[in-house]
């Protein structure tokens, strides 16, 4: 075991899979010699050589397309899209191609690729370095979508993603790369080395996709969330002094419906929290499945706490970010409804 932040855990996951499987190759903008603008691939080119870890042209569409071709050949490409905000030029290749290849070819061809991409705000990235576009991918059948909330999960989930024979979009909330940011931006950040989930085995291990984690058991209400918001929700639960059960989804698709349903049936109340814009965000789907499966147990309306339906404004970032105050307010409201 070693203390790792998210960046190190992600690096370790790639390193581990590269060591075990020589078909794993890594490429993307600035990921080779330099090791990525967030340093997630640092040292890998040196260790595995330029043929397995290399820089790419600035062409997200080209990256995705060539990754598909490599996957069809038999490699396991792990690509990086430098910011989730820049994944759209690759959208067609992901949605029309990677996601449908197995289906349209009757299972003959498939592209086992993993797309890593830092997402989310809270780093003064402005409207083009802060987005959380996960629900655009969860809408696409044939893609799996993952978002870890801590180093331990990040490593285990990423190894699973890389070894998965389906295309996986792996979003990394960059605000928690260095520590479990809880939304209190005015306070100093606790580093991962002080957090239990910052203890990461150096060896190989996997966390299955489609298994949520109950990060705080509770009786009064259920909080469903993922990514950075897990930590914000935990802070909000403290703040609101509500005995909430907090579920960290970890993987959005496949979704761990059982854990959600069991919890809401138990508590009868539910708050859904994400950083993405509200309308048609993943929270809408969560609200739908909770409503469909737990209707008769619900004692109060489900609430959503989300980013506003606006771009992420640079200077007003903290007015935009769904911080602990907003979450706590929702918790109290739902608990008391």
């Amino acid at each position: 075991m070693a203390a790792m932040n998210m960046i190190q855990a992600i690096n370790s996951a790639i390193d581990t899979t590269m060591e075990r499987d020589e078909n794993v190759v890594v490429f993307g903008e600035d990921v080779g010699y330099f090791g990525g603008v967030f340093r997630c691939t640092a040292g890998l080119q040196k260790k595995y050589g330029k043929k397995r870890v290399f820089d790419s042209p600035i062409s997200e569409g080209g990256i995705m397309a060539t990754a598909i071709g490599m996957g069809v050949y038999g490699l396991r490409p792990v690509t990086e899209i430098q910011f989730a905000d820049y994944i759209y030029p690759a959208f067609d290749q992901l949605v029309s191609e990677a996601a449908r290849l197995r289906y349209r070819s009757g299972g003959e061809f498939f592209a086992p690729l993993t797309v890593r991409s830092p997402c989310g705000g809270g780093i003064f990235g402005g409207q083009t370095h802060s987005q959380s576009p996960e629900s655009m991918f969860t809408h696409v059948c044939g893609l799996k979508t993952v978002m870890p909330s801590n180093p331990y999960d990040a490593k285990g989930l990423l190894i699973t993603a890389i070894e998965d024979d389906d295309p996986v979009v792996f979003f990394e909330p960059k605000r928690i790369y260095n520590g479990p940011f809880d939304g209190h931006h005015e306070r100093p950040l606790t580093p991962w080395s002080k957090h239990a989930m910052g203890e990461v085995p150096e060896a190989y291990y996997k966390i299955p996709l489609g298994k949520a984690a109950i990060v705080r058991p509770g009786e009064k209400l259920t909080v469903i969330t993922y990514g950075t918001m897990v930590h914000v929700c935990l802070a909000a639960v403290e703040q609101a002094q509500v005995d909430a059960e907090v579920i960290d989804l970890r993987s959005l698709l496949p979704l761990d419906l059982d854990t959600i349903v069991d919890s809401v049936k138990k508590t009868g109340r539910c708050v859904i929290v994400h950083e993405a814009t509200r309308t048609c965000g993943f929270g809408a789907e969560l609200m739908a499945v909770v409503q469909e499966n737990c209707f008769w147990s619900l004692e109060a309306p489900i609430e959503r706490v989300t980013g506003w339906d606006t771009p992420y404004p640079h200077a007003l970032e903290w007015a935009y970010f769904p911080g602990p105050d907003r979450v706590a307010k929702a918790l109290k409201k739902v608990a008391e409804a």
Binding site: V25, T66, Y73, P89, Y103, R104, S105, G106, E108, K144
Partner: protein
């Protein structure tokens, strides 16, 4: 700052084909290099020696059906006859399948009429292990790789023998065992994918190369650019083919840039060879393809090949070209018909004659009919299909819980 001269107002140029319905076809501005006129460089020639090729048209067969010049691949008669047969089989297949569509046995079909030399000669010039990333108009690749027509027909008919489980539009074949990549309905996406496959092959120290095809119209998609960029940067062993058949549904190739430049010229921007070839000349297509393949195999990187041909048929069974181009345009296409030209070449060489040609035509037609009979015995669109349950398979490798639930929901009606 401008010098103050008063200039006329700006105006926008909207491309216009030389002739519209009712007008006489006009290919006057098409510059045709005479057969044999363009020299064949060594396959190892540096790109700097090749910058003149995109402006030429490589041709081997002349108007007297003789093979001229050093691009003549000097194929043996058996190979030529094989090529003729594959092209004729492709055409017979196309003709028959359009009838099938008219009979309502399937929903849609796309012919490759007039372009058969492209797919057939290229397939023959490549090795069987090379990986092909086609568009929807290269059925000739499958034919030339001896892929069973029956399999293709079952796909078109979407019956229960369709290996693609009735999921794809007719003609969107996939044949892994033929090294033929699953055809996408989305134009151009396969072009950079082929580059990725070729990169992987090179990464692994393999010997197999890749080839991909797009139409003239499709060159306008970003994926075309991504393919050229990645192929050039990593010197991927790939043949990037542009089938310039003059039309993209109703828009002529001027709307893809063809009024200003050849499509082979695009290669110049990436420092890779761009070869422009008479796409209806079986020998020339074969020779250029073999030349580019040799370069790729020698780690000399990608080649862009423009194949100049003509889409003699409607775009698809949903299209009626009489609405947008002169009806006689195909007949007046200056590069003729690929089957006709190879046939006449063989005749001129004394290896073929009218009687044998007619016999072969009949033989192939009978063969197609027999295959179709068998294919139809497995059912046609609507009369036979895969079980609805199969709809939920292959979305993912394993059927995830939420799809299992939806399958159950469907089963319960």
């Amino acid at each position: 700052m401008s010098d103050g001269t008063t200039l006329p107002p700006l105006s926008l140029h909207i491309p216009e084909p030389k002739a519209r319905p009712g007008e006489a076809p006009d290919f006057g501005e098409m510059h045709l290099s005479p057969a044999g006129a363009v020299q064949r460089p060594a396959a190892t020639a540096p790109e700097t020696d090749l910058r003149f090729y995109p402006y030429q048209l490589i041709r081997v067969l002349d108007d007297e059906h003789q093979a001229l010049g050093d691009w003549d691949p000097k194929l043996d008669t058996q190979t030529l006859l094989k090529g003729l047969r594959y092209m004729m089989l492709t055409r017979a297949y196309d003709e028959r399948m359009v009838l099938v569509q008219r009979q309502g046995k399937t929903s849609f079909y796309m012919k490759s009429t007039g372009e058969e030399a492209v797919a057939v000669a290229q397939a023959m010039a490549l090795d069987r292990g090379d990986m092909l990333f086609p568009s929807y108009r290269q059925q000739g690749l499958l034919v030339a790789r001896d892929w069973p027509l029956l399999d293709m027909m079952c796909q078109v008919l979407n019956n229960h023998r369709d290996r693609l489980k009735g999921r794809q539009l007719p003609v969107m074949y996939s044949a892994r065992d033929a090294g033929f990549f699953s055809i996408s309905g989305n134009l151009g996406t396969q072009f950079p994918q082929a580059v990725g496959w070729a990169m992987a092959s090179a990464l692994k120290g393999d010997t197999r190369i890749a080839a991909a095809w797009v139409g003239d119209g499709t060159t306008a998609e970003g994926d075309f650019h991504h393919a050229l960029t990645f192929a050039s940067v990593y010197q991927a062993p790939v043949l990037l083919n542009v089938v310039n058949n003059q039309w993209a549904i109703s828009t002529f190739q001027g709307f893809a840039g063809g009024e200003r430049a050849t499509f082979a010229q695009r290669a110049l921007g990436f420092g890779i060879p761009g070869m422009r070839v008479d796409g209806n000349d079986f020998l020339a297509v074969y020779a250029v393809t073999a030349w580019a393949a040799e370069r790729a195999r020698r780690n000399l990187g990608p080649t862009l090949i423009e194949l100049v041909t003509y889409r003699a048929a409607p775009h698809s069974t949903s299209d009626d070209p009489s609405a947008y181009r002169p009806q006689t345009e195909a007949a007046q296409w200056p590069l003729g018909d690929p089957i006709d030209r190879l046939m006449r070449h063989l005749v001129a060489c004394g290896h073929w004659n009218e009687a044998r040609h007619q016999a072969l035509t009949r033989e192939l037609d009978d063969y197609v009919k027999a295959q179709l009979k068998e294919a139809e015995s497995h059912g046609t669109l609507g009369t036979s299909k895969h079980s609805p349950d199969s709809m939920f398979e292959d979305v993912f490798k394993d059927v995830p819980i939420h799809l299992q639930r939806q399958r159950r929901e469907m089963q319960e009606g």
